[in-house]
C-alpha cells in the first residue's frame, strides 16, 4: 500500500483539495469556490467534506499520512489563527486550525500560502534539490516564502517572507498594509489592472480602453495579451511590473545571497512581458551579479556564479504540491 497526503490550497477565490502521493504524483484534485462572502466555518465544512471524500476513495489502495493546508495571511503556529489576510475577510484571528481539526477529527498542518508554494517548487519545481531558496508569488497580492537549510523560515510569529510588503517606491502608491509603494502595488495582478484602468481613465490607452469596454472580466491576462501584441501602453505596464520586481529581487539577493529566487503565482504567466525589464534592473542592482565574472544566461533564467532568478515550474499547483510536502515534513518531524 503506497503512502499519500491530502493537500489543501485555500485562496481568496478558489479552494482546491488534492490527493498527492509520496512520489509527487497528483492523484486527484477537487476545485471548489472559496465563497469568501460566507463565514469561515462553512468554507471549512466544504474543505473537510472534500478531504473526507478523497480519504475514503483512496483508503483501500493507499494509506493517508497527513494533511497540509496553505492559506493567505500571517499564520501564527502558536495560536493556530491567521492574521493580516485582507483577501479572506472574516478570517482574521479565526481559530482556523482548531475548526478544521474539530470538523475532521484529526490533526492538520497549516502554513502561509507563500511558504507552501516555496516548498512545492523546492520539492518538485524550479528549486528541486536546493536547500536554500526564496519564492515570490505574484497573484491577487504578492506573497513569498523563504526556505533556509531545507526548512521554511517563519520568523518569530510566522510573518517572515512577506515579500509583497517591501517598498520599491518609498513614496509610491499607498498599500493596505499601511506602508507606501509596496511591491504588491506594482507587481500583482490587481496592480496590473489598476495601472490599466489609470491609463484608460487618463485617455492615453485607446486599445486598453477598447478591450476593457468589451471584456466584462477585464483582467491582467487581457493586458498581457495586448502587451505581447505590441501595444505600447500595455507594454509599459509590464515594464513597471518588471522594474519593481528587479528592485525587489536585487534587494533579496543583497540581503540573503541565496542560490535561487523563483518567481511564481498567476502573474508569472506574463513572464515574457516583464522579465526583460526585471533582468535589466537586477543586473545593476544585485551585488552578486556584479561580483562574479561569468554570466550564464539561459532562456528564461539569469544566473551568474550561483545566483539564479527563474520562473516557477509548477504553475497554479505549486500550492498543492507544497501542502503535500508540508504534511510529509510534519510526519518526518
Amino acid at each position: 500500500m503506497s503512502d499519500f497526503f491530502i493537500a489543501v490550497d485555500l485562496g481568496g477565490t478558489n479552494l482546491r483539495i488534492a490527493a498527492v502521493n509520496e512520489q509527487g504524483k497528483l492523484m486527484e484534485k477537487i476545485s471548489l469556490s472559496a465563497k469568501v462572502a460566507r463565514d469561515p466555518r462553512s468554507v471549512i465544512a466544504d474543505m473537510c467534506g472534500a478531504i473526507t471524500r478523497l480519504q475514503e476513495k483512496y483508503r483501500g489502495t493507499s494509506s493517508l499520512h497527513g494533511i497540509g493546508v496553505g492559506m493567505p495571511g500571517v499564520y501564527d503556529q502558536r495560536t493556530g489563527r491567521i492574521h493580516e489576510a485582507p483577501n479572506l475577510p472574516g478570517w482574521d484571528k479565526y481559530p482556523v486550525k482548531a475548526e478544521i481539526e474539530t470538523q475532521l477529527g484529526t490533526q492538520v498542518t497549516l502554513e502561509n500560502d507563500g511558504n507552501v508554494a516555496a516548498l512545492g517548487e523546492k520539492w518538485l519545481g524550479a528549486a528541486r534539490g536546493l536547500d536554500d531558496m526564496a519564492i515570490l508569488t505574484l497573484g491577487t497580492g504578492v506573497g513569498g516564502g523563504l526556505v533556509f537549510g531545507g526548512r521554511i523560515w517563519r520568523g518569530v510569529w510566522g510573518a517572515a517572507g512577506e515579500l509583497g510588503h517591501i517598498p520599491v517606491e518609498p513614496e509610491g502608491v499607498p498599500c493596505g498594509c499601511g506602508n507606501r509603494g509596496c511591491l504588491e502595488q506594482y507587481a500583482s495582478a490587481t496592480a496590473v489592472v489598476r495601472m490599466a484602468r489609470e491609463a484608460i481613465a487618463a485617455g492615453r490607452a485607446p486599445e486598453l480602453a477598447r478591450v476593457g469596454a468589451s471584456d466584462a472580466e477585464f483582467g491582467a491576462k487581457a493586458v498581457y495579451e495586448l502587451a505581447m501584441q505590441g501595444n505600447p501602453e500595455a507594454g509599459e505596464i509590464f515594464q513597471t511590473v518588471g522594474r519593481a520586481l528587479g528592485i525587489a529581487l536585487g534587494m533579496f539577493v543583497n540581503i540573503l545571497n541565496l542560490p535561487m529566487y523563483v518567481v511564481g503565482g498567476g502573474l508569472a504567466g506574463a513572464w515574457d512581458a516583464f522579465a526583460p525589464t526585471m533582468f535589466k534592473e537586477l543586473r545593476y542592482r544585485a551585488l552578486a551579479f556584479a561580483a562574479v565574472a561569468q554570466p550564464e544566461e539561459e532562456a528564461g533564467a539569469i544566473g551568474r556564479g550561483q545566483t539564479v532568478v527563474t520562473r516557477a515550474q509548477l504553475g497554479s499547483d505549486a500550492g498543492l504540491y507544497g501542502a503535500a510536502y508540508l504534511a510529509m515534513m510534519t510526519r518526518a518531524g
Copy 2:
C-alpha cells in the same frame, strides 16, 4: 589556566588586535593604523606582530584557543579571499587567510566585519541570549550581519547581509556598487558629510559652512553636534538618515520577522538625532508593528510584541568581541 582568544578588527583606517577571555573580558587591546596605502602583506605583518606579542604575553597565565579576524568586504570562506571591499584598496581577491596563516604559522578564522559585529552584540551586547537577530553597522559605509539559529547566515558565498546595498530611493544617489539609492548613500558617516557639503555648496547652511571652514577634519560628529544644538540644516540631514533607516528596517522586519534588529557602528552615536525619524517611518512601514496590538516603547528602543529595534551596546568594540566569539565558535565546531 583560563582560556583566551585573540580578536582582530581590520578596518579601512584602523587595525585593532585584542586578547579576550572566555567570559568576554577584554584583557588587552592594541590599536594600529591600517595604513591602507601600503600593501596587504605589510598590514598583515603588523597584525601578526601584535598577535604574537599578545600570545607571548599571556601564555604564562592563559591558554590561547583561537584567533578570529573581522574585515570589510565579501569574504569567501571557500577561497579565503575578500571581494568587494572598496575601503581596502589593493585587497580585492588577495589570499588574506593564507597570508595570515603563513606569517603566523597557525590557523585563523576570518569573517566579514558586519557578521562579526552581529556576533559581538549577540554574545555580550543588545541581542544577548537571542539566537535570531540582525545588525546594521553605520560607519564609513553601511554593513550588516544576520544571525539565524545562533549562526551567521552567510548565503552561498558570503555575500549575505550586505544590508548597506538595498535601495531606499530606487532612483537616488548612485552607489559604488553599481546600484542607485543604496542605504549606504544616506545612512553612513560618509553620506552625512556628503549631504553637509551639498548643503554648504548650495549656500543654504551657514552654520554648517562656518564649522566646516574651521574644522580641518569636518566629519559626521560635527554635523551631529550642530543638529543637537538645534541647527535646522544639520537636523534635516539626520532626518534623511532616519528616514532611510526606517525604510530599510521596515523591509527587514517584513522579510525576516526577527525578534531584534540592532543599529551599530560609529554613526549610531548620533542615535538621538536620527532615531525619532527612524521610528516614525518604521511604525507605518513594518507589518509587525501594525500586526501586534501592544506597544512597548522604552527609552531608545521600540518594540511591539516581539519585534525590537534598538541601539548597539558594545560601541566600537563589537567587532573585537565578535571576532573573539567567532574564534570560540570555531573551536566548538
